[in-house]
Symmetry: D2
Amino acid sequence: MAAQLRVGILGATGTVGQRLVAMLEGHPQLVVTAVAASDRSQGKTFGEACTWRLPGDMPSALRGLQVGSPQPPLDCDIVLSSLPADIAGPVEAQFAAAGYPVISNSSSHRMDDDVPLLIPEVNAGHLAMIARRPGRGGGFIVTNPNCSTIMIALALAPLQARFGVEAVVVTTMQAISGAGYPGVASLDITDNVVPYIASEEEKIERETLKILGRLDGARVRPAEFPLSAQCHRVPVVDGHMAAIRVQLGRKAEPGELRDAFTSFRGVPQELGLRTAPPCPILVRDEPDRPQPRLDRDAGGGMSITVGRIARDRVLSHRFVALSHNTIRGAAGAAILNAELLLARGYLRNDQ
Amino acid sequence: MAAQLRVGILGATGTVGQRLVAMLEGHPQLVVTAVAASDRSQGKTFGEACTWRLPGDMPSALRGLQVGSPQPPLDCDIVLSSLPADIAGPVEAQFAAAGYPVISNSSSHRMDDDVPLLIPEVNAGHLAMIARRPGRGGGFIVTNPNCSTIMIALALAPLQARFGVEAVVVTTMQAISGAGYPGVASLDITDNVVPYIASEEEKIERETLKILGRLDGARVRPAEFPLSAQCHRVPVVDGHMAAIRVQLGRKAEPGELRDAFTSFRGVPQELGLRTAPPCPILVRDEPDRPQPRLDRDAGGGMSITVGRIARDRVLSHRFVALSHNTIRGAAGAAILNAELLLARGYLRNDQ
Amino acid sequence: MAAQLRVGILGATGTVGQRLVAMLEGHPQLVVTAVAASDRSQGKTFGEACTWRLPGDMPSALRGLQVGSPQPPLDCDIVLSSLPADIAGPVEAQFAAAGYPVISNSSSHRMDDDVPLLIPEVNAGHLAMIARRPGRGGGFIVTNPNCSTIMIALALAPLQARFGVEAVVVTTMQAISGAGYPGVASLDITDNVVPYIASEEEKIERETLKILGRLDGARVRPAEFPLSAQCHRVPVVDGHMAAIRVQLGRKAEPGELRDAFTSFRGVPQELGLRTAPPCPILVRDEPDRPQPRLDRDAGGGMSITVGRIARDRVLSHRFVALSHNTIRGAAGAAILNAELLLARGYLRNDQ
Amino acid sequence: MAAQLRVGILGATGTVGQRLVAMLEGHPQLVVTAVAASDRSQGKTFGEACTWRLPGDMPSALRGLQVGSPQPPLDCDIVLSSLPADIAGPVEAQFAAAGYPVISNSSSHRMDDDVPLLIPEVNAGHLAMIARRPGRGGGFIVTNPNCSTIMIALALAPLQARFGVEAVVVTTMQAISGAGYPGVASLDITDNVVPYIASEEEKIERETLKILGRLDGARVRPAEFPLSAQCHRVPVVDGHMAAIRVQLGRKAEPGELRDAFTSFRGVPQELGLRTAPPCPILVRDEPDRPQPRLDRDAGGGMSITVGRIARDRVLSHRFVALSHNTIRGAAGAAILNAELLLARGYLRNDQ
């Protein structure tokens, strides 16, 4: 049996950081050996520094870990980053320059030319973009998309493959956990909807096209269809929902979309990656599904759920998608990326 | 001073019925003289039959009114109906046949050829559709649109007038009060979004085109642009929100849309109708408005609020609209219709 | 290996019925062979009749089961009942008379002299109350308490044992799932608290004393301390909370209460019953715990969580308790009762 | 007609500050002439500095006011303070020392020997405690109680007067607006209850006894009954609820308590103070009232509502009380205090 890869988590005390910690408990290939945070928690143990906000208890093995500062060296083979966007950029670059593979949930490097913006089921081939930075062992950065983008791109992938996609109109209703902690003030969202999430619409419009883009050598040429996103925060704990209209490249019965969704599989399913769900896209046929509270945990939070597939009067078709924003949309996405990199030989535990 | 018109309310114990009762308290031209309900409340006094679910107290003048059955004769000059759709159709027809002007919030007759689907600021001219039914005094039916439709049609009206409208994509996030009482089960909507409201998408698609249609003699020719609606229930007490994309008929700066919205006035404003807000459409320039909790009561609940006006990547423009669904979207709409009919001579208190 | 006991579920389509079905999936000793419901679902399959409202999917093995009417005979060895209180009384008596052991979550027979009101950790000895009714195999009824009562009695049990209890003041904040489906209207509970749950205060006051009473032959003499309960519905999906003051029979440091809670074990823990949590009462020392969303699933939903243990200025001590109301407070309680009955020889699969 | 008294608001951009500003709009005796805040808003106009979070718009007259720093001199006759507790203490003392009457909603000076903790209906006589500090015009400090305390003390006052009070057990369910902005994180309170509000239980226990204490010369001797408070945050926007048990000094029918509540009037009602509600305590007889959403705005937010009056099994009686926490519990309390001081000659506009 191969030794476990030692993981350092940047931003470990945050909402996504805690999910990373929780999902890595008992992972056969990955073990958390270092935690770092940007705030005043440095110097404390993780047990002292981190107010655990997920149901259940913090993994006891991590209680005694010292919280380090987010800069190399860190006692680990790879780095998983969920740092706030305002500091992630230089910190992640610093780790990559110091030879660490960096698997990031932050937005800073997503659009970099040599950084894959990865959804393993959708664009595993984009790993070819990785340019190992000079230095110890050849560090690099791999990112996962924004929490809403993952769901949208995952839903569009089989449609693009089978029918072609010519235009997309997305309206999101996003959970409060997407804003981290303390995140959204309760006075702003109780009995309310907020039709604004900073930079979210731009991220969705930009990232989706990169993910669905075509590899041209070691560079990606973004997909070229127009995409419109309007984003809203709703009083839901976990689970982003998107009402999606799509103009397909050819005529299609709604049943054909349904079939494209349910039959969709990707590299993680072929490889049997641990965090990969058997079906990346589940379809529910009840008229009132998907719903965040009922469907967010499908496939261990790693499947998205699609419903209400129908023709549309303006674009050609429409449907509703739902995804667990801190699992498939963040922590699980990063871990699945790590598993893909491991399976593909990009990570070694002797780095 | 003219004597008050005596009003009978059908469905008086329901969510919209209670709003009607509350809004008519102290009305100088309209006075409630009869209440009727379809359920087991008949025979009781209104005070006994009606569990008051609005803040504050039931108007004391109505406490002692006997709840009648919803069929003529009723001790009133006109009838305001907020009956459930399943019984409104024949009951309202019966009242009209018996000579009562019927002003209805129910969906049953909205698409009838001789029934105006009225938003006084938008299509006051559609009153020409009214065909007085034979019989005592010449009864007829006038309807107000579905709660979401009112907001959408009101927002589109100035755009249609100034730029032309070629396509509309609407995604709604609707309040629980829109479903009446008991309406939505709390287990269905707490920490949740439900992407389905029965018949709502069809109503929006159909009714909007009738309202924005052109009068051709005594008939309406519906507007012909394609309109797509996806509807969602969100955990908000009052206030429907709509994310709207629109393809305009000509190029326009976002500022021109803003101006079209804020300068919009209609017949109710010209006539100074009591329930008409000074500005039917308010625009907020903060990046995160409108919001249901903060904006639903604007203009006494009779103004809609628009924000986030911008260009769109798929259609030409987009914005977000917000309206109080049981005031502008239901009870206030019916009362404004009554006030318009009164001003235009369609109602007399000696019928 | 012993054959599985065949279980019939009365009220299988309801909120608690669905929990029963979900918790029994894969149970080594119990297998659902019959489902019955009082409503219009009879004659349909369970898959058709039951709108599944728990996260995930209905157990596929039950989809094809025909929904029967709630009356004997039913194709099962024992009956688990979660019928509405208004019909449970005679139906359960009828099943017991027909020889079925009936394990009920309904309130109808809880106060009967020959019916144990059972929390296996607290009063397993009350099984001696069971009077087998004449007839086929000797049917009988065993009940579990009201969802709030279970938590309160479980929390009080170790205090009564170690210190004596002289008075109890309880204020509950209860989840909406406690009212079943459709249960609480969303208009009643969104942005709101309702200080009333029908009959709940009386149930808590009455049932707690029976559970903590002493067996005197085959009868229970209720505990005699005064108990006051005020009950409130709050906008929480699952998880009942109780703020509890208690007058203990002797002086005690808060740490002694803590120790009494954490060291508490009962018969289910001794016997290693499958649904029994290792620790029936967990204590959290953070100043702001327990919380419904974070603690309701502790111990698989079968542990209650206590926190904020302190001296009180009016009674002697106070603390806050939290329990999953449809698991420990209903479905799990019934299943644990079944497991205890099985372990103690009250159930046989050849009845 | 007397000139208006010129008011400076400390902490004007906060939750309570905004309520003060909103309630003072159009006040005949008080006019806001200065706003100050402790944070980065100094130097900006109020319109720029303050993100308005109440429904409707910021009073336009204040938009252009420069936000000053919270230290004397300030262009006003009196100061209303809603500063955060951590800075209110020295700032308010400084203003009083500089000769300003300070009317404070902050907790810093509430327990000072020469500072009345005032509810005008309850202890107007405590104004005798005021010791004018030396200096310009004789500044002093008057405080209003904690938002929960006001409701509790107001409810207890008529009981104390008529029956005597021997012990009180209070369990609160408090709205999120009580924590200011951003205050409670939405992740902490959505689908949740938090059984902890820092220092709240101590404040209630301490302040209530001072308010209900007896004046002994210029000092107050606190009431001496034991009082126990357990406090919880619930997902409600506005409106604190308290479940209260009370041991009265003599036997009393529940109807006698009801009568004591409804007939209660105080000095503000006698004097006809502008912000005083006609009835400080309303009683609702429905079994499920009061409720925050339905009753918080009673009496313009200045009446508290009591319901569910009954005998109790441990103490002698129980009931539920409800109050608007940012109106009667904060901003309205401070304004009513100002009106009382004005009526009693403690404030002059030529200071």
